[in-house]
Symmetry: C2
Subunit: 141 residues, 2 copies
């Protein structure tokens, strides 16, 4: 397997709500696509949101039930802590600012941001569907 990841897809309860949240955070997307693929009981719909990030990476939002159908796995309730997305910023103040902005958009901060022993200052938020983001300033960078 080539050492590349092209897409990170987050399962969400409400595509429009999640789209609005990530737009509030500053990410840009043309909006919901794939609406022509309506799906049915067994087939997932194609309704999804794509945020084109830098360096060829795409952050996708996809309905939780559609993702479960597409992957042929049971739908499981939203939970937190299985994985996290790390986002680096340039200063301590930037960490605080991104967290503040996420909270204003409806995210939940899990803790006050603080320094970690391995040389970072960071804080986590949970997005509207429980997905964890860690906003990080590397003290050694």
């Amino acid at each position: 397997m080539e050492p590349r990841i092209h897409v990170i897809t987050l399962g969400v309860a409400d595509l429009e709500r999640a789209l609005a949240f990530y737009r509030e955070l500053g990410l840009e997307s043309p909006g919901v696509i794939g609406t022509q693929y309506t799906g049915d009981e067994a087939t997932p719909s194609g309704r999804a949101v794509m945020f084109q990030l830098r360096d060829g990476l795409t952050l996708a939002l996809y309905g939780r039930e559609d993702l479960a159908k597409d992957a042929n796995v049971p739908v499981s309730p939203p939970t937190t802590g299985h994985f996290s997305i790390g986002h680096l910023v340039g200063s301590r103040a930037d960490v605080d600012e991104v967290l503040r902005r996420a909270e204003a958009a409806g995210a939940t901060l899990t803790d006050e941001p603080h320094e970690r022993a391995w040389g970072i200052y960071s804080g986590y938020f949970r997005d509207l569907d429980g997905h964890l983001w860690e906003i990080i300033w590397n003290l050694r960078a």
Copy 2:
């Protein structure tokens, strides 16, 4: 927030086992780092594995309990279907080959790979901790 993601961290039950699995898939890592940060009941350890991917992205493995402590969220049991990682390859045969290799390394295929209405041929595997990977060939590329 800048449109960048720098790290994807997967919570795992057993760091060495997950490291061996992803090495089997062809990813390279110096191994477990951060062992000097031992942690305690309240503080996460720093033990982690980093795979440096292309374009500045890092795939990290971190103990599930450490991730929960670090993010200050409850530990939740492994589940599948909250998110997926998408990995593009260059042909239908490459999809089959990566899935076969993942299965040989201990992953579970959730279904036979197949064409999806939106113009891709893909299949999913669950890694040893339930994290979903979709291996994708874009028929239109």
